[in-house]
């Protein structure tokens, strides 16, 4: 039994490694086959994906809410821009500083998050997003006021022979891959388990010795840190920050993107980021006024068709395919198959075989039964 699960684990890991390798190969090839503007768009998808992965930690896995993540994003972006503009530090140095600054900022905001929940927390975080742009305008000496700051983009080294957009893409790809991996490992660690337990059942988690205050505050801090890293990347890619780039609409767009992509899913942030990036720009081609309308209508449509987001939709489709294939395979070689029961080896469990850790936000398929047996 135990060795079976080990074997199962290995094949799962193998499949995951294969998928990751494939994804990496595609990601590496992409900038050579697309026009610069398209490469830029893909780069921005990755930037948003990092921010959404952070928001996902807080909202999807932590069960809290934030309408203020645009502010952390902005804080990261401005930290990088100010360092580049005023202190000429070089790009690489801005990343850890932006991350650390936003981590601390998030830690500070995690404290009120302990006492507030639901709508109240949403309102407090929203106020952060609303008040930051005017503040940035006021602090003209440092932030450049409403004119913003223009900074240099990272330049490709001569040996690489890459264009600027391609280089930006690779740099962002590397950082976002690391960030997404960190987010994934964080969730699989003891801390991540505690976070999920708190979301599922706060008081039960507490009686098991999980320190609520610690985990909730740190969820906020981690989450803000990811948003800050994304903001820093934003500055690198765009080379310009201004208060108007970070209005409270950004915060709401981030949250909407996450929900559409799939809460509490590991690759939901990527899908959500693509949604946030592409839907408005595609809609723009239709008419000037279309983006808002199309964006809104699409959110409604996704919520109706796929309440667990695009990631939930994808994993459900994947599960159906796997089941069908498993059924066919089982009837093919029913005698050759290993002894363990189907229930452990086939994806009848709510997790998908490809990504065993992708938990869906709402237990659509598995309502807790109370009176059975």
């Amino acid at each position: 039994m135990r060795s079976m699960t080990a074997v199962l684990d290995r094949t799962r890991h193998g499949r995951f490694a294969l998928a990751a390798l494939l994804a990496a190969a595609v990601a590496m090839a992409v900038p050579f086959y697309f026009a610069p503007f398209q490469v830029f768009q893909l780069t921005m998808v990755l930037v948003y994906a990092v921010a959404l992965a952070g928001l996902n930690l807080l909202v999807g896995f932590g069960g809290q809410i934030s309408l203020g993540h645009g502010a952390f994003f902005a804080a990261g972006a401005y930290t990088a821009a100010i360092m580049l503009d005023r202190f000429d530090t070089g790009h690489l140095a801005t990343l850890p500083v932006a991350a650390a600054a936003c981590f601390l900022l998030g830690l500070g905001f995690g404290v009120p998050a302990l006492r507030l929940r639901g709508l109240y927390l949403a309102l407090v975080t929203l106020s952060l997003a609303v008040f930051l742009p005017p503040l940035l305008k006021r602090l003209e000496a440092v932030t450049g006021g409403s004119m913003g700051l223009t900074v240099e983009k990272p330049q490709p080294p001569a040996w690489s022979g890459l264009a600027e957009d391609q280089w930006s893409y690779f740099v962002v790809l590397a950082v976002s891959a690391v960030a997404l991996l960190v987010a994934r490992n964080l969730l699989r660690s003891r801390v991540g388990r505690a976070l999920l337990a708190v979301r599922d059942n706060e008081s039960a988690a507490e009686v098991m010795g999980v320190r609520l205050s610690l985990h909730k505050t740190f969820a906020f801090a981690w989450s803000a840190m990811f948003a800050g890293v994304a903001g820093c990347l934003y500055t690198w890619v765009i080379g310009f920050v201004s208060p108007d780039s970070f209005s409270f609409v950004l915060s709401i767009t981030l949250l909407a993107g996450l929900v559409v992509g799939g809460l509490a899913s590991l690759y939901g942030p990527l899908l959500g980021a693509a949604f946030v990036m592409y839907v408005p720009s595609v809609a723009q081609d239709l008419s000037e006024a279309a983006p808002g309308v199309v964006f809104g209508l699409l959110i409604i449509a996704v919520m109706f068709v796929a309440p667990t987001g695009l990631a939930g939709l994808a994993s459900r489709a994947g599960g159906a395919v796997a089941r069908r294939r498993a059924g066919a395979a089982a009837s093919d070689r029913s005698s050759v198959a290993e002894p363990p029961p189907e229930s452990t080896s086939e994806p009848s469990a709510p997790r998908t075989p490809v990504d065993p850790e992708s938990v869906e936000a709402e237990p659509v398929g598995a309502p807790p039964r109370t009176e059975k047996e």
Partner: protein, 268 residues
């Protein structure tokens, strides 16, 4: 309020006899006072049943013991004061609470649920490779107590049946290696057969691990079967205390408070 006498089942030291010592425990919710001063003790390694009708304060008692609600008076576990601590601090002192309605983490797998039970053990003074191996061994031990959980170890807890969830909740609490296990109405919503199985396992755990248990139950028969001592609670006061056998024999009390037909024996 007279402290109920504890029959000297074993004439051990007071420390062993008063492993859990509750004195003058008062607790409630907001304005509503539920417990009006409870006094009782549980000896180390014994099972204590708290019985009583709905609304008597059974659940409130357990909540006060584990720190979920604030209590007044004094509750000591092995000499350490429990009152005034948070649930998390109480857990650190070895109190494992299996809440009413189980409180499993429904979106986590069975194994993840169990690992949350060992949350405290994988850090701080327990940190290290040795403890990790011990947690793995404990996981194995829990699976031996509850073979059904092993079969479902990778399934989401929300997809388990009620009985399995209750097993999971108890298993999760045992992963804490508790000094004191608090069981709140383990039979709630379960079929009689399942409940019986569950109580048998609790008895086995108690015998093998010498875990002290306080179980709150409406199903007096079952609880008395595994308990050494029992207390009957009514409207926030203890109205009867004694050994499980004494309580079972007390015909009138049994009839009035527990709905057990007097002198009909233990039934089938």
């Amino acid at each position: 309020m007279s402290g109920p006498p504890i029959d000297g089942t074993e004439a051990g030291e007071t420390a062993e006899r008063d492993f859990l010592k509750v004195s003058g425990l008062r607790a409630g919710y907001g304005q509503a006072r539920v417990l009006h001063g409870l006094d009782f003790s549980v000896a180390r390694g014994e099972v204590c049943a708290v019985l009583g009708p709905n609304g008597a304060g059974k659940t409130t008692t357990l909540r006060a013991l584990c720190g979920m609600i604030r209590g007044r008076g004094s509750v000591t576990l092995n000499g350490a004061e429990l009152l005034g601590r948070s649930p998390e601090q109480a857990a650190r002192l070895g109190v494992a609470h299996v809440p009413e309605g189980r409180g499993t983490f429904n979106e986590l797998t069975v194994e993840e649920n169990l690992r949350i039970g060992a949350h405290l053990r994988t850090r701080g003074r327990w940190r290290g490779r040795g403890e990790r191996a011990a947690v793995a061994a404990d996981l194995e031990r829990i699976y031996e107590y509850f073979p059904k959980l092993r079969q479902r170890s990778r399934q989401a807890a929300g997809s388990l049946s009620g009985g399995e969830q209750q097993m999971l909740a108890i298993g999760r609490a045992l992963m804490l290696r508790p000094a004191l296990l608090l069981l709140d109405e383990p039979s709630l919503g379960l079929a009689p057969l399942v409940t019986r199985e569950l109580f048998e396992i609790v008895r086995t755990v108690n015998q093998e691990e010498r875990t002290t248990v306080v179980v709150v139950e409406q199903n007096a028969q079952l609880a008395l079967d595994i308990a050494h001592q029992a207390h009957v609670l009514e409207a926030g006061r203890l109205v009867l205390s004694g050994s499980a056998a004494q309580i079972r024999e007390d015909g009138q009390v049994a009839e009035v408070y527990l709905g057990v037909p007097a002198r009909s024996g233990q039934g089938g």
